[in-house]
């Protein structure tokens, strides 16, 4: 739903993009990500005054450590629920379309073409690509989580239980674990709080935010403009009826906007502190 300050047109057709579980997973992912960033960044920038303030705000480094590990567990659970969902769709429901084609998150030649076309469109050298259900930048965000879960999650668990892991790993792997945990965290937080925020919410077409991840639905008209290939497919296969959904109620919209605004503000605060620390 393109919520740029105007009310949804009355009588518009809405289609479902995210089901309830996906939306809940995003809320938990978002909360745990913000929590991890909030309790972790003070360590990465411990020489800054604000780091001390944030650290004391959550009750000192011990409390921050407990919170950080708790948020990590939440994030891992989100990841496992999502993985088990994918497994179910693939092996039980035999939903092979998630492996290839427009309904799949797997990067495909078309994504490369879309990306080049998109850049050409930025500079006025071509039309806007006919995006389908998942764009190349959305796929990048999606797989970045997998990469991040592996790198930050893996190194985090090594650092969490150093005595156990030191039975198997050489000592300097802990130095490596701390380094990649911090650097990858820097990559993830700055990426999410700038690039993902811009792509998903803050770019002028979406500003101040896209509530689709909170309400789960978007107007068919928006699909037609932003994801024409998906629109064509839906109309041709008459899939619109299948995923038609009621318009979001004002309460749902308000809730989505509130949660989204808080998350974006916390993220922007953290990324401002980070960039300030990196530049000064």
């Amino acid at each position: 739903m393109n919520d740029n300050g105007t009310a949804a047109p009355a009588g518009a057709t809405y289609v479902r993009r995210f089901d309830e579980l996906d939306r809940r997973l995003h809320i938990f992912l978002m909360t745990s990500f913000l929590g991890l960033a909030f309790t972790g960044l003070p360590l990465l920038f411990s020489e800054r005054k604000w780091a001390r303030v944030l650290s004391n705000l959550v009750g000192g480094f011990r409390a921050a450590g407990v919170l950080h590990r708790s948020f990590a567990i939440v994030m891992v659970l989100v990841f496992l629920v999502h993985l088990s969902r994918i497994m179910k769709r693939l092996f039980l429901d035999k939903e092979t379309t998630i492996l290839w084609g427009p309904g799949s998150m797997v990067p495909q030649p078309r994504d490369l073409a879309d990306m080049l076309g998109h850049i050409k469109w930025f500079v006025g050298l071509g039309p806007r690509p006919q995006f389908d259900r998942f764009t190349y930048w959305e796929k990048f965000d999606y797989w970045a989580v997998f990469w991040g879960m592996g790198i930050i999650g893996g190194s985090g668990f090594v650092l969490w239980f150093p005595k156990f892991w030191s039975r198997f790993l050489p000592g300097d792997w802990f130095n490596v674990a701390l380094l990649v945990h911090g650097e990858e965290a820097l990559l993830a937080t700055v990426f999410i709080f700038t690039i993902h925020f811009f792509n998903g919410h803050l770019r002028p077409e979406k500003f101040p935010m896209d509530t689709v991840i909170f309400t789960g639905v978007l107007p068919l008209d928006e699909v037609k403009h932003e994801r024409p290939a998906e629109y064509e497919r839906l109309v041709a296969e008459d899939g619109v009826a299948g995923i038609a959904a009621p318009a979001p109620t004002p309460a749902e919209l308000r809730r989505g906007r509130t949660i989204g605004t808080i998350a974006v503000c916390v993220g922007l605060l953290l990324v401002s502190l980070t960039i300030y620390a990196l530049l000064s």
Binding site: E47, A51, G60, L169, G171
Partner: protein, 411 residues
């Protein structure tokens, strides 16, 4: 009142005339007190010339039966009273030769010699005048428990002693709140040191200007070690102690970490302040430490993680190659296990001063750091440009969408 004093002096003079003899007898204490016993008697400038008989008789000199003229020697042969107001300063050396000789070597004496108006202490500034009591007397100014207050009359007053106002733990006034000061003044421990224990009694030399001072850098360890003898033993054998013995005064001595006067018994604070102290010389070690979890947490102000002395020890510091070193191959695991109970040998291979830019120190860390650097640069360069290009196009797209909306959502 003044008339009374003059009358008394006249009577006294008359009495001496009556007893006129070839060799004039020195005036007795009672003779002196004839005038000086009057609490109201004053000199021409209005200052009191009162001497309390009881106080003098209770003093160490009074008890010993000393006579006024034993100290005020220039009055011993005086017959013409009242005597001139200006008298010579009593010379204590007639009896206390060694003490005055020691005092002659002190910074106090040097300061007075340089500037006659100097307020540097003279015998009576610390010991008193007619009321001098032996140090064994609990009311004595120089009693073990009272000495800090006596020294602080000048050294706690910024008008007399400019450094007294400082707040870096080097100023004498902070002694009161130090572990030594509390032990002495609150707990009343007679083994607790006072000023003189470290600085000496009469021969107090300047720690900055006089290398013979008991608290000059080179002598600090032996001075502290006169009580803390086991620590001195460890320190003397450590790399710092060895270097000091060779004349290298840039190594830390006791007071660099513990401060001169504010010496504290709160290890929590010291465990954090030691970082800057060690780091003032070992700056690259401090820098690499800051990149580790220990260094990050301690920088946030929490002392619950290892700081310098936790691994390297406080006094028994040896180079890592030395078999005695707490971080050398022989003792390293035991050092880690002080906090990380149950850690294994591989655990101790962790590098608490890892440097990702030093390929020789750890190749895998160096390579990982390089990879992460280019990963970050790559991702942000691509998406930075991507976003920068998208933004103006998105502004345009928004305007187009608004126009569409204005046209009744038709396209």
């Amino acid at each position: 009142m003044r008339v009374g004093a003059v009358l008394a002096a006249l009577l006294f003079a008359a009495s001496t005339l009556r007893a006129a003899a070839p060799a004039p007898k020195p005036p007795s204490n009672d003779d002196c007190l004839t005038c000086h016993e009057d609490p109201a008697a004053k000199r021409a400038d209005g200052s009191s010339l009162f001497v309390d008989k009881k106080v003098f008789e209770a003093s160490v000199h009074g008890v010993a039966g000393a006579s006024c003229v034993d100290c005020h020697t220039d009055l011993a042969k005086t017959t013409d009273f009242p005597h001139p107001e200006k008298l010579a300063k009593p010379d204590c050396s007639a009896c206390h030769a060694q003490q005055v000789e020691d005092y002659g070597k002190s910074w106090h004496a040097a300061a007075r010699a340089k500037d006659p108006l100097s307020k540097a202490a003279w015998c009576s500034d610390c010991h008193g005048k007619h009321d001098i009591r032996p140090s064994s007397d609990p009311t004595s100014r120089t009693n073990h428990f009272n000495l800090p207050a006596t020294c602080m009359r000048c050294h706690g007053d910024p008008k007399i002693f400019p450094r007294a106002g400082g707040a870096d733990g080097s100023e004498p006034i902070s002694f009161h709140d130090s572990i030594h000061g509390k032990a002495l003044e609150k707990s009343g421990l007679k083994v607790a040191p006072n000023c003189a224990t470290c600085h000496g009694y009469h021969e107090i030399r300047s720690p900055r200007r006089d290398p013979k001072s008991t608290v000059a850098r080179a002598h600090v360890p032996s001075t502290c070690g006169s009580c803390h003898s086991k620590i001195l033993e460890e320190y003397s054998e450590s790399i710092h102690g060895e270097q000091l013995a060779k004349g290298n005064e840039s190594v830390p001595v006791c007071s660099d970490c513990h401060s001169a006067h504010a010496i504290s018994g709160t290890p929590e604070v010291r465990r954090l302040t030691i970082l800057a102290q060690c780091g003032s010389c070992h700056d690259s070690s401090l820098k690499s430490y800051r990149d580790t979890y220990h260094g990050q947490v301690s920088e946030l102000g929490f002392a619950a993680v290892a700081t310098c002395a936790d691994c390297h020890t406080a006094h028994d510091i040896h180079p890592a190659g030395d078999a005695r070193s707490s971080v050398g191959p022989a003792k390293r695991l035991a050092t880690c296990q002080k906090c990380h109970a149950g850690a294994g040998p591989k655990f101790a291979k962790y590098d608490p001063h890892a440097n990702p830019h030093d390929r020789g120190r750890s190749g895998v860390l160096w390579f990982t750091a390089l990879f992460m650097k280019y990963l970050l640069i790559g991702v942000f360069a691509f998406f930075g440009v991507h976003t920068a290009l998208w933004f103006p196009r998105s502004v345009k797209a928004r305007r187009e969408a608004q126009r569409r909306g204005g046209d009744g959502d038709a396209e």
